[in-house]
């Protein structure tokens, strides 16, 4: 059945007619700007980009005269569609994963899409030093949970530093708190060192066992440990670490822990004080995914500066902008525009913060993040330059399929209103018929 589905799916993909976006200003991000250019899309992929392209016969044409096309934006820090975010009961919760609790019907997914975001990293929360496994998704609104998962993205785990992981420990049990270790930044460091010490032992046990088996010796397999397995994957470079951190001291601490145990931090999320340790981050080849200008909402966000992204970029750190918020994510292009003001980034540099850079950080830059032949046709069409605060998203394509169309959205408003009214009327009618409620009458679950 699985095979049959796959065949049917690929047949459908092949059967879909090619699409051409014409007459647009194309902001490729990696290959410059093409004025009055076209993009040919075949089988969900970008087939050709340029001023002169060969338009396939029977191609569906999107005329984007006077409009701008950029790659679908990527939000490297989101919690939308996650039905639960924090398994905060323990300090190490690497056994849980957000992929188990995805709700593709979360309206926030459609709103992300309407803001031009096509790829999101759905992260576990920051209540514990070692959090849960994360999942990268595409905003394929209308698909089921497996249908929104970004195929081929690197597995990810969330780590967290500072106020959030220590907060749970702040109040002793006697005073009604959880009393969970750690309650200090010192304790947070220790949680990492303890966990990776355990993980190394576990890794060694399995290594020894596998070698024995290889040699044809008799051996008993070690107990499988679902908590330590992801950490071994981290040690073996098979799973990325996205670490929540604010202050420069705590981020430096984790860099040192990663040196000690021989693993890599892929990037820091928030990283609001990343600018203070740009040199160390660059030397470790560790990225930062930060806010444009959010600050002062807690003590560790008091030294946040809107120049963070620009400074980090100038000092050689791979940096992106993220939202961590269901509203902020709707205008990531405007967030990028602020880095032109704060720190003087060029337009392409600014847009790279929400496209190719987060793609690299998430390990999906082979598929998305720029407009190049061979990449997924995840594209946003704006009526104005996307760095203008007046720009509106007109169309969003994912894998070559139009998932958002502002004209259609507008023209269907009255139809939707009528449908909503009809549903409300129907429910009112039913309520009238049902009342007084018969004993034992079926009730809807709540």
């Amino acid at each position: 059945m699985k095979h049959l589905c796959a065949i049917l799916f690929s047949v459908a993909a092949i059967a879909a007619p090619p699409t051409v976006i014409r007459n647009a200003t194309i902001l490729t991000i990696t290959k410059g700007v093409v004025k009055n250019g076209s993009i040919v899309i075949r089988d969900g992929k970008i087939a050709e980009v340029g001023e002169n392209v060969s338009v396939p016969e029977g191609a569906q044409v999107i005329d984007a005269a006077g409009q701008f096309v950029m790659p679908g934006m990527i939000d490297a820090h989101s919690h939308i569609t996650a039905e639960s975010v924090n398994e905060g009961s323990v300090s190490v919760s690497s056994m849980v994963g957000v992929d188990d609790v995805l709700n593709p019907e979360d309206i926030a997914l459609y709103r992300a899409l309407a803001g031009g975001v096509t790829t999101l990293s759905i992260m576990h929360g920051s209540a514990n030093a070692i959090g849960g496994k994360c999942i990268v998704i595409k905003a394929r609104w209308g698909k089921d949970a497996p249908g929104i998962v970004f195929e081929g993205a690197m597995p990810v785990i969330k780590f967290a530093l500072g106020e959030n992981p220590k907060r749970s420990g702040g109040t002793p049990v006697a005073q009604g708190g959880r009393g969970r270790y750690p309650a200090t930044r010192m304790g947070v460091e220790d949680v990492f060192r303890e966990a990776f010490t355990e993980a190394k032992n576990y890794q060694a046990e399995w290594r020894e066992y596998n070698e024995k088996i290889k040699r044809g010796e008799n051996a008993i397999a070690p107990h499988r440990d679902l908590k330590l397995e992801p950490l071994v994957e981290v040690l073996e470079g098979k799973r990325y670490v996205h670490a929540h951190g604010y202050r420069s001291d705590e981020m430096l601490m984790l860099l040192k822990v990663s040196d000690e145990f021989g693993f890599k931090i892929r990037f820091f999320v928030h990283g609001l004080e990343g600018y203070k340790i740009a040199k160390e981050l660059a030397a470790h080849d560790v990225g930062v995914s930060t806010f444009s200008d959010w600050w002062s909402y807690k003590v560790e966000a008091y030294d946040a500066i809107p120049y963070n992204a620009a400074l980090l970029m100038k000092k050689g750190v791979l940096v992106s902008l993220n939202s961590d918020d269901a509203e902020l994510m709707r205008h990531m292009n405007q967030e990028a525009a602020k880095t032109v003001k704060y720190g003087g980034l060029t337009e392409t540099e600014a847009l790279s913060l929400v496209t190719i850079n987060p793609a690299k950080q998430l390990g999906v830059d082979k598929q998305v993040g720029s407009i190049e032949a061979g990449k997924d046709a995840d594209l946003v069409i704006f009526d104005k330059h996307p760095l203008s605060n007046y720009a509106k998203v007109q169309k969003v394509l994912i894998d070559g399929t139009v998932y958002f169309d502002r004209d259609k959205e507008q023209s269907e408003l009255s139809k939707k209103d009528a449908r909503k009214k009809a549903l409300i009327d129907k429910e009112k009618q039913q309520q009238q018929q049902e009342s007084p409620r018969r004993p034992g009458a079926a009730r809807r679950p709540s």
């Binding site: 966000a301 120049y307 605060n389």
Partner: protein, 433 residues
Amino acid sequence: MNRFAVALMLAWPLLAASNDTFLLKNVTVHPVTGPDIANGMILVENGRIAEVGPKVAAKGARVVDGKGLHAYPGMIDSATQVGLAEISSVRETVDTNELGDFNPQLRALVAVNPESEHLPVVRANGITTVMTLPFQAGGGGMRGGASTTLIAGQGALIHLDGWTWEDLEVRRGAAMQLVFPSLETRSFRMESMSMARTPFAEVKAAYEKRLKDLTEFFEEARRYQQAKKGGAPGFQPDLKFEAMLPVLEGKMPVMVLAARERAIRDAIQFADKQKIRIVIAGAREYGKTLADLKAKGIPVVASPTLELPLNEDDPYDSAYTVPAELYKAGVKFAFATFNVQFARNLPYQAATAVAFGLPYQEALKALTVNPAEIWGVSDQIGSIDKGKWADLMLTDGDPLEARTQIKALYIKGKQVELTNRHTKLFEKYMNRP
């Protein structure tokens, strides 16, 4: 040399020549109240605008070359907690949300910290005046503070530069803040960090009780007013009722926080009955009340444009289009951020409203002259007109675009620093070896 250093150097000659009498020349003047003046001049005398035009005599004043920049009036944020709240999660640094249902005697102005790091951060983006309010919805720090209140106290209109809160004052008691009872069935529970639903009947009963309490408080205040006027025997002063007198006399507007149509309708009825002046603030859903607001001349402080739709099934752009709807209905409105940490982004609230249907000129007005009129200070601030304070920003383009730089800022004719905590940290760490 980085671009930032260049920007500082460009700004320097403007900054070096600082006192409050000067002739600014070679600027495109955007008075907001009248047509733009290309290559115009502004004469500032003792901090006030003395003359504006294509050609203005210096009258011996120092001449400042505006270098072809654009001059706009400083922007006004009509709802913030700037100066009252520093770090929102730390109660000790937050002075909004006092305990108690009725606190008309509280004055935001006296709690404004003139040294707050937020003042220079916010003004660096061209905002020269804010309404700072005693109550923030969902605010007051994470611990303590009243989560509900009715009359929260008196908001103050302040300039974003001064040594003391007396210096900052544009108008103390610019508005009485009333948090109108809410009919929301869904509410966020801090303990469980989740949304909870209360049955409508329960919510409605509570709503009516709160409305009754509010009416009784106003009636008591009115009895106090009459007793005072009539010199009733045994009359004793009461600070709460005393603070209500300017409201009852129609001298102080009441800023009513109300989210939905039903609450707005009830607030209008309440205002009619109590014969008070109101300003509706932060509403998300006006429905049929727009016609009433227009007919009765009730102005509005628009809820932030960059906000989520109120209901799950609302159009994705429902918050973006509200300012355009207000304009089309003929309701006078002003923009606001209702916030501290995003207050500097006030102009982008306006830009999104323009993208979704609001005429550009109306957006500019809602950032400047409209709030000045709503708060009764249009003789002082809000446009580049003779007699007003010289609250000016010089920009290299449209201030509603994030890419535009603010090159110089004047408050009461005095040039103020554009440096702040953020620029200083940037410079320090940009130069880290």
